[in-house]
Assembly symmetry: C4
Homo-oligomer: 495 residues x 4
């Protein structure tokens, strides 16, 4: 197909909601029909209507994505370079690019734990990107408890065992992995590094660990899974169910086609939490890139500038347990529900025939004072241990140490996910990801040896002393308070 040549004057005419063109890498696209479905919201795009959006686009999306998404029919041609193309440029923004001040970073070899990566990320990401990644809901109680709960569990290390050779391999949904931790799905890895999810995939391949790809990834499933040797490591696909179920069905078919080994559908984000750290950084000072990454419209409503608040135009808030039937019908892949916070919901997952659950509170980002993941794990273990026999239980939120991983496994988790930490390591590109995995692997192996374990099947609660948190596990799943009928609210007649 030979591209038409489109003049700047022509492009600038299509700058309204009802008729919206943008330019990406000299190609002119009509995105009028697509905008309402944009996961990043509509406003972000309308800001670039009739303009060149290349810079903003490319800092978040892979080049191929727009063509794949819109199809050739929406391609209006190439910009007529004889016209004044400068008129298409958005005004320059000081913070247009994440501050990947590579030179200013400390040498990778000086980073020796996950906290070090976090500290570097805080300094080298843009203010808005950092706010988005690091923020959590309101008082941050859950975010912090996710972490501190691990340190309140004592090990019970056993001595004088032959621990020369240890084996850290396991299976996730039947897929072999060399280590029991994986990349949790997080949006827009390109913001941390141009190679985004591709670098994550290559790092994972090297160490044989699994990666879960977000619906909002910077690259397509095909690009990501295609960046490593076929079948070398398993990929899973994270799904937000769309109000338009057909859109989700397309994604599910894509997942199968691209060799995904399972679907992790997120159940804890029907609406987004109030992440004040995020809201305090103004959208005005953020670029398209950062705005888009949260999948938010970026509107500064009267509750603050948070990107996450108004997101979710496309997520279906009516989706409920009854809809699981549709999901199971729509894919042959194993299904994992991500975001379980109670033993009751774990049981429901079993009843609905799911293949796994991820105990998660979204990193404390949604509902503050949601229970820390470890507490939910303890609750299920106490009250419904049979759950572990029917499906695989994964845990994320708060994992920062090899000791954390082993503790989760001792309580029944099959593997654990890490999200923010991987994004932070990605600021160093693939090399950073590998260094980070190596650190976690080393911490985990040291923990196994010092605990007296030689393979993961030996993980067992007997290696833990949970006395300091045991009182936090509900004694019964029934409320411990007497049931009372609601007070009839009309005031009694006066006598």
């Amino acid at each position: 197909m030979t591209d038409a040549s489109v003049s700047v004057e022509e492009i600038k005419k299509h700058a309204s909601e009802k008729d919206c063109w943008i330019v990406v890498d000299d190609v002119v696209w009509d995105i009028t029909a697509f905008v309402p479905q944009h996961p990043g919201g509509t406003e972000i795009i309308y800001k670039h209507a009739g303009h060149d959006a290349s810079l903003a686009y490319s800092s978040v999306h892979a080049p191929s994505l727009i063509a794949k998404t819109l199809g050739p029919a929406k391609r209006k041609g190439k910009v007529d370079s004889s016209t004044e193309t400068d008129l298409l440029k958005p005004p320059p923004t000081k913070e247009a690019q994440p501050k990947l001040a590579v030179g200013a970073k400390p040498p990778l070899s000086t980073l020796i734990n996950s906290y070090d990566f976090e500290a570097v990320a805080e300094k080298t990401l843009t203010k808005k990107a950092w706010a988005f990644y690091s923020s959590a809901a309101t008082n941050l109680v859950t975010r912090d408890a996710n972490r501190s709960m691990f340190d309140r569990i004592w090990f019970r290390p056993r001595m004088l065992r032959n621990i020369r050779d240890i084996d850290t391999r396991t299976k996730i949904l039947g897929q072999h992995v060399k280590l029991p931790f994986f990349v949790s799905p997080t949006a827009m890895a390109k913001l941390a590094h141009p190679d985004g999810e591709l670098a994550l995939a290559r790092g994972c391949e090297k160490f044989g660990i699994a990666q879960c790809i977000s619906t909002n990834a910077s690259f397509t499933m095909a690009e990501i899974s295609g960046s490593v040797k076929s079948e070398s490591v398993p990929f899973f696909f994270q799904l937000y169910v769309n109000k338009d179920r057909r859109a989700s069905e397309v994604l599910l078919r894509d997942a199968e086609k691209n060799g995904m080994k399972g679907i992790w559908f997120t159940i804890d984000g029907p609406v987004q939490g109030k992440r004040e750290g995020d809201e305090r950084v103004k959208v005005e000072s953020a670029t398209f890139a950062q705005a888009a990454m949260s999948g938010a419209t970026g509107t500064n409503d009267n509750k603050g500038g948070g990107l996450g608040r108004t997101m979710g135009g496309y997520i279906d808030p009516t989706f409920n347990w009854d809809d699981i039937a549709w999901l199971k019908k729509s894919t042959k892949l194993p299904i994992v529900a991500k975001g379980v916070m109670t033993a009751e919901d774990a049981v429901l997952a079993v009843k609905h025939g799911l293949d796994g659950i991820v105990i998660s509170n979204h990193g404390g980002r949604n509902l503050d004072t949601s229970p820390p993941s470890l507490l939910t794990l303890l609750e299920i273990r106490r009250h419904h241990p049979e759950v572990f026999q029917h499906l695989e239980v994964f845990v994320d939120c708060g994992i920062r140490r090899g000791t954390d991983i082993i503790k989760a496994l001792c309580l029944g988790a099959k593997a654990v996910g890490m999200g923010r930490s991987f994004l932070y390591s990605l600021t160093y590109g693939q090399e950073g990801v590998e260094h980070f995995i190596d650190i976690m692997k080393d911490e985990m192996e040291t923990t196994m040896r010092l605990l007296g374990l030689t393979d993961l099947s030996q993980c067992h609660p007997r290696y833990l002393n949970v006395c300091d948190v045991e009182h936090l596990i509900p004694k019964s799943l029934e409320s411990s308070f007497p049931d009372i009928p609601q007070f009839p609210s009309a005031p009694r007649a006066k006598l």
Copy 2:
């Protein structure tokens, strides 16, 4: 009636306790008989005896109040403007007006939670006003525990429910409201903004929430309830019972006449607590306005400069449960006792046929180490759940988040009150009040959705994990210590 013209010389003669005139807005009043009943104490007024008190008066009271209170018989005429009226002026005070440095405040849109309003108030209120509002009793244990107790209760969020449409309506004493939180009664809202309670009322009307008017409000009940469309939102009236019961009876009749929907009589303040933050700011440096707001005499006694300490000349310290009969006889309105701190008193409220109780410790302002409100709520729920069937239970103290509101409701509260937060939002006038309500509404709705609730009737203890505070609920209301007869204090005879 034609006003007499009163010369400055004449006015200045009436400057003693036994013969006390003041000038307000050029009108001369004889307040000799009224002074002893002034809720703000006598000394404050005597300082202005024989002088123009307009500035001080107007910063606290609505113009109409003095005429209504004193009646035409006490009106001595207008100031003869041909005489040297400057002599009537009190010496100028640097802090005569609250520092409503409107221009210096951050834009309202940048305030995104209740703590933001508090931070602005701390900077923009006068030192004395801030001290009065924010202070609490002695070591501040209860004030802080009111707050922290909420964060020690975990949610138990349930996923995969259809939470698209939610309903936040409820009824308070039979009155429809759109949200389950209301304005707790607080004194002298005019100090935070000239529109005072009127701005609160208009903000509440917009969002359909209830307001409880303080005995010590800056405006009259008629003015406040008249500032919004009739019956658009319910008002309640807060009562301190006067030693002179007839004075209280007048107020109660006024309440009915002005459409109040219930009487909230305060039972936890027979004397005032020791609020050291308040006491450390000298009365000397405070204006009449600030002094008056606490309803205190403003005397610097030898225990400090606190405004609240010596208050209560008119509050009846003998009022007890037996006097409830009088109260019920004196009004047809529903009656709510504000300040219940034990399950025993909740039961007594039921026995005495009250219509509601407010669990409250006066914001930690009266008796330090009084139990945080949430603990009292848990205690009643555990030991006397039948209370919730006989009357409506409200909670105030420590509510700062939408999550707090839902937690209180899950434990049986019908609605919750907020006091200080509303005053702080009022520093931005009606617009601030509305922004604040909007924030709380949004937080609460987000909480409901992420918890899996679609209307308030679904609130239930099963959505909470109270394990971390459960040990604080007395196992029995009987003392857990063996009863012992008192030691006979005379020393035994020596043998």
Copy 3:
């Protein structure tokens, strides 16, 4: 008796341990025989041997004490003023006097609680005096827990009672007092103010509270009790039992003669604890006065410069329960044992027929991690409530608020003692003492009213919620660990 005139040359000859004269207020004394019994140790005196010790003496002792103690036989005459008396002066010491920088102190009226007095004392006492008063044993765990334990007990306030008139009177060992707190015995009040215990006595008289006089008081019992109207308030006498029992018997007779109403003998200080704050301030920089106050020899041994460490030459470390018989035989006064820390010892006190106990850990000054007083009170109340029927239980350590007093009384204490706080208030002399008592009285009365109590006999555990500390009370006084015979320490023979 006409005094001889003694030349400086002569005086300076008697400057050895075996022949030791000192000059006080121009009078020459032979103290050779007395020095070994000096409660303040010998070294302090030997430093002044052959010199004028007036300044040092008078900052600690009343003028009359030396004559009374030594008797006329030891009086060698007056200094011959024609000789070079300057030679008698000790070298001037910059810190010779406590920095009673009266002018620099904040006005008394601005002090509104016990912490304020403490803050002033820290700034106006000498470094050494502050170190001595404020220090406690090693890690300060007990000192701080004494305080914090009070704030972990919630009140259970009862509303709607007639609390207009309240009565704070009680009896201590049969003696009428107007308030249930008293002055705990502390050494050398003169260091805080020249009027020392006299000012304390006069302040107590004004408010009708009891005072317990220390063995190491700056004034004699006669002077102290004589400074107020006879029988207006009760005095008690604190006793450390001397190795030389006859010395103690003399003191006991003195106590009866001077109208003391009871003997409080200290049982928790057979040796002194390690008070590091005290030890870090060098004796070299301290004056005789400060050194003496601790009753220590003031030696800088190789464990630091602490005054308290080497004290106790005269305290009998062999004194035990069997010796109570001697004590009872030696006095007709009621006997109170000060320093009980376990329920077992409380029971022993009953068995030995004592009239009272003071639950005390010496302000956390002796053995760190001794139980806070409130915990011991709870322990006795739980396991041996009959103790309260047989003797009077007093509590000291950690009392800083009126709320603390009422809590102790609700748990069975007859009255509470305060030590350091009284010394700190004494930096303002009698006026400070009165202001301090007034504050405590006011706090206590406010607490009673807000709690719903009108007299002290109503104090009862039902007004407290002790759930937060209840788990700290031993479930049984028997050790909860299985008993094991000691391991025979010889290694087993190898086979």
Copy 4:
């Protein structure tokens, strides 16, 4: 034997791994065969291959060690001083010597507790030495809990006992000692002071306390035990079992020959923990001396610069309970297992006929969130009190106070070990060691007196209130969670 004279040219030829000579104190040694067995790793030595290593050697090792270790056959002769010996010198290093800035230290007499010694050590040791000594595993949870757990146990002091004379003697493995604490084995004491373990031994002799000599000591067993009067105090020998059992057998024979009274073999360090404080100080900036002290290779691998990480080339990671038989066969000395952290392992120690155990988590240096020693002690005491009848139980980790010692003894410990504190005191040489022991002795005796104990056999749990930590002791050694068979990881077939 007359030494050959070896030219510098010749020496410099032997500078490879396969042919490695070094010069120590002008003597030339061939260490090619020895290097792989060097406890301090190989790299450290190769850095000095073909050079003069005197300075580095002597700061860690006693002069005699190299001759003893290598034997005369490896002695190549003396350096030919006529050649250019300067060529042998390693480049000067600023930090070549620990900063034993003796002059800058505070006078020893001003140090009054163990924390004071720690503070001085932090300032006067080299940065690397301080990092090595003070660091602990990852989040430092266990290191800090070792300490804080002691302060959470209350004493229950008993009054009115005759405590004039107290006896602190006990026996360790049948050996008489005057105090119940000893020197825990720590590597390379020479780093803290040139006299190293000799100074420790002499200090111990003076006070009659035991010393446990590390495998990695700076001096030989013979030198250390020979530095004090024969049999005056007992020595024990700490053993890491070598992969080459014969090497260990040689050490065991040496131990018997040199009069060691027992073997303490370390069981909790099959691999080393991740000590980040240590890893963050670069090996590059450390001297041979500091590098060697950890027994590490000193490689900066990609996990940081920690010295401890890659150690253990010679420690046998396969050693397990079955190998105890070999150990018992290889020595006639009593055997103590150091590093027990569970009651189960304590029972296994009994079953395998050991003579003692040390409850230890290696100072929190190996596996973070290992249980604090006191918790393990409580666990054994609760669940297997019979252990104390079969072997001697020692405790180390976290002991800083005399109160800590008595608490451990009251719970059944025979004696306690201190490691870091002794090294810190050693910065003052023997005098520092003595002052430190004197302080601990004094604290311990004061504790006994104030607790009412006169000899150590009276130590008993009844003197402790452990209520605050009792909930941390597992209720049962079986896991409190229901056992579940592992989930079969293959995903279920889709229907």
